[in-house]
């Protein structure tokens, strides 16, 4: 992983620390930049201004507040499952970040079936949400949990199908290889910007981003939470620390999915290789291990801006409309996209 040979325990420690940073840093940044500030600006107000300069310490104040709160469990709740549920959601975020590459050598694991793995574990969080809704012993939570299950499973499919187009074009399921294929590729012979798949797979990108929006239960697909109907759905009964975990997981997930989307469609950590004359992964300079993560964060912020912008502008769909949209629009569209991609791949 790194040029220096570290003992196994040190490597593991580094991975755990790196993973924690990779989960918490995007979550914190997104919460402050988008949830606190951008939302406020879009609503003609300033947002938190008291804690730290321009309210930048607000998140720590909030965390402090949540940690102090009483950990309430409903009397009729299934206590064990009730306690485990938020952890499952958070853990799914952590195991998701494992396959995301941040630089030529800066990755947690170089996994051949990386895309497949990512799509598989991203649905683990559904389990957490479903059991949270079930174990809360609350009708609103139950409705929210069931809605979440229906919705997340329905949108898993267009997401997978959208990614299939990318995989066909890249010819690999390894995320590192997908990054390489984009930055080293060319669009019909022109390699000025490489071949970020957002240009050649724009249909897949659209479908993927919509599915991500639904997967993250952000407006217009936030029926499982549905503040004005279900009073926060599956989270209704959670308070204090456990609610904090849900909260972190929600925004960490936004970050992770934005990272995955930037790997799949925006060229990941890379810059077009033709600019520097690199022609293989080994030829990439070592400084990309430092610049790469920064590029990734930049792309992640751009994509989360998009996700959040939609979130703050749109009203919410209804459950049946959402299902109809998934099955009648997104899935056919992505199937056609796969077909076209395959034909073009064979033709050229």
């Amino acid at each position: 992983m790194i040029a220096v040979d570290l003992p196994y325990w040190a490597q593991s420690l580094l991975r755990v620390l790196g993973g924690t940073v990779a989960v918490l840093l995007p979550a914190g940044t997104i919460v402050y930049l988008f949830l606190f500030k951008m939302m406020s600006f879009m609503q003609s107000r300033l947002g938190p201004m008291e804690a730290g300069p321009y309210g930048s310490m607000q998140l720590f104040a909030e965390v402090g507040k949540w940690l102090q709160k009483e950990d309430i469990q409903p009397a009729l709740a299934d206590k064990k499952i009730f306690k485990i549920a938020p952890l499952i959601v958070l853990v799914s975020t952590f195991i998701l970040v494992a396959v995301v590459p941040f630089g030529p050598d800066a990755y947690f694991t170089d996994f051949e079936a990386g895309v497949f793995y990512a799509l598989a574990v991203s649905s683990v969080s559904v389990l957490g949400i479903l059991i949270a809704g079930w174990s809360s012993a609350n009708k609103y939570s139950l409705l929210g949990g069931l809605r979440a299950a229906g919705q997340l499973i329905a949108y898993e499919l267009p997401m997978v199908l959208a990614v299939v187009g990318v995989v066909i074009q890249a010819g690999s399921m390894n995320m590192q290889q997908i990054v390489f294929a984009q930055n080293h590729g060319s669009i019909f012979g022109w390699d000025g910007v490489g071949n970020p798949y957002v240009l050649t797979q724009f249909v897949a990108f659209g479908v993927f981003m919509i599915a991500v929006q639904a997967e993250l239960t952000q407006t217009p697909f936030d029926m499982p939470i549905a503040e004005s109907e279900l009073v926060s759905g599956y989270m209704t009964e959670y308070s204090g620390f456990r609610f904090l975990i849900f909260f972190i997981a929600e925004f960490a997930n936004v970050g992770i999915f934005a990272l995955i989307a930037s790997v799949l469609f925006l060229g990941g950590w890379g810059v077009p290789f033709s600019w520097f004359g690199w022609d293989s992964m080994d030829a990439v300079d070592d400084w990309m291990n430092v610049v790469g993560p920064l590029i990734m964060i930049g792309k992640m912020l751009a994509l989360s801006f998009l996700i959040m912008w939609v979130r703050f502008s749109y009203p919410r769909l209804r459950e049946d409309q959402l299902q109809r949209f998934a099955w009648k629009v997104l899935i056919p569209v992505s199937l056609v996209n796969i077909m076209l991609t395959a034909i073009l791949k064979v033709a050229f």
Binding site: Q43, S44, T219, S228, F312, E319, Q321
Partner: protein
């Protein structure tokens, strides 16, 4: 009328069928869901008990009264001038509009009429309170449907209107500015110009809301065809205001009755919509806000000069008699049936509020809809708890 009875029968049969399906076919029990009294969608403390089959409503029963303040009783122990300060609190978003019908009823009993200038200013303030009320509805609508931004825009621009009301009357929410025989005071200097500016801002606000919410495909999908109320049913339940006009009934008390306000001096359009669904109700309110800004602009151009108070005895005793006056308030028809027995205070005041009738249709209209539509329909019927519970 046959139309109505058929529909009632049909909805009854549908409900029976739903019950039967619950118990026999699927061998499942329905779920009873309590929406409220503390629930973000009921903006206040309305409680709606719904019986669900999955997410479909089998029947719904609204239960009001968590905020009942007994205004009809309280008016009986107050003098006429003291009543106006009380009834400000019925519809607290458009409170000036609450005073007007009561004052007009008292004036009708005393057989006096406010001077023209007072009538014009009354009409202006009446329309301003309509704007203050309905603009918040437009923002709140977004929240009910899951969009969080419109409500902040509504609060931002509503603030300008509230500043105007406060600048003229001294009271931000509870003006208590209307007096039997006129107004408490004249307008302060510079108020008219300021109002013109604010009306421009409000028209801009309406455009923003239209782009942000009404034009959105998701919003239209959520509201069109949801909660359809046919005109005959709407009249039977006494729906009024935008809810009635959204069902295609062309009835607006501002235009359709002779009343001592300046509405006959201005030119305005009464909007109606043939659909009768949630979208129509919201859309009518948006158009009415626009129309109200135009009414205010026209009125500002032509305020007559003169006194704002007619000659009224210092101690007001209202002669014996009964009077009913209702006006087209932001929420619909609001009226007072005032019975006086020649005393300092009224003998009995029956307060007819718009929301009470508007919400009484809820059990009828909620049958067979989905839980998210419950919220949509409640939001589009637009009630204010103080207006239901009095």
């Amino acid at each position: 009328m046959t139309d109505l009875i058929d529909r009632q029968k049909l909805s009854y049969i549908a409900a029976q069928a739903a019950d039967a399906r619950l118990n026999v076919e699927l061998e499942t029990e329905g779920m009873t869901l309590n929406i409220g009294p503390q629930h973000p969608a009921t903006h206040g403390t309305l409680r709606i008990i719904v019986r669900l089959d999955g997410e479909q409503v089998v029947w719904a029963d609204p239960s009001a009264g968590y905020m009942h303040r007994g205004y009809e009783k309280l008016t009986e122990v107050r003098t006429f001038p003291q009543v106006t300060t009380l009834i400000n609190r019925i519809d607290w978003l458009g409170s000036f509009a609450n005073e007007v019908p009561f004052i007009l009823a008292a004036e009708q009993l005393m057989d006096i009429e406010a001077p023209p200038r007072a009538q014009w200013i009354r009409t202006i303030l009446f329309e301003l309170s309509r704007i203050a009320n309905v603009s918040l509805f437009l923002g709140d609508l977004g929240v009910q449907l899951g969009a969080i931004t419109p409500v902040f825009m509504a609060f931002r621009d509503r603030e300008y209107v509230l500043n105007l009301i406060e600048g003229a009357t001294g009271g931000r929410f509870h003006p208590n500015f209307d007096r039997i025989g006129g107004l408490k005071d004249d307008l302060p200097k510079g108020w008219i110009d300021e109002t013109r500016q604010v009306m421009k801002k409000l028209r801009n606000f309406c455009d923003e809301i239209e782009n942000l919410l009404f034009g959105n495909k998701i919003f239209q999908d959520r509201t069109r065809g949801i909660g359809v109320i046919p005109p005959a049913v709407a009249q039977q339940y006494g729906l009024s205001g935008a809810n009635l006009r959204a069902s295609g009934v062309d009835w607006d008390l501002r235009r359709d009755q002779k009343i001592a306000l300046a509405y006959d001096k201005v030119d305005f359009k009464v909007w109606t919509h043939p659909d009768g669904d949630s979208f129509a109700r919201c859309w009518i309110r948006l158009q009415e806000t626009r129309e109200a800004t135009k009414i205010v602009d026209q009125l500002l151009d032509g305020i007559p000069s003169g006194p704002v108070m007619a000659k009224v005895p210092r101690i007001i005793k209202v002669p014996e008699g009964e009077a009913w006056v209702s006006t087209e308030n932001p929420l619909g028809e609001m009226g007072y049936y005032v019975v006086s027995q020649g005393d300092l205070g009224p003998f009995r005041v029956k307060i007819r509020t718009a929301s009470f009738n508007n919400i009484s249709i809820v059990p009828w209209v909620l049958r067979g809809v989905y839980v998210p539509d419950v919220i949509t329909i409640l939001a589009s019927l637009y009630f204010i708890l103080g207006d239901i519970d009095k």
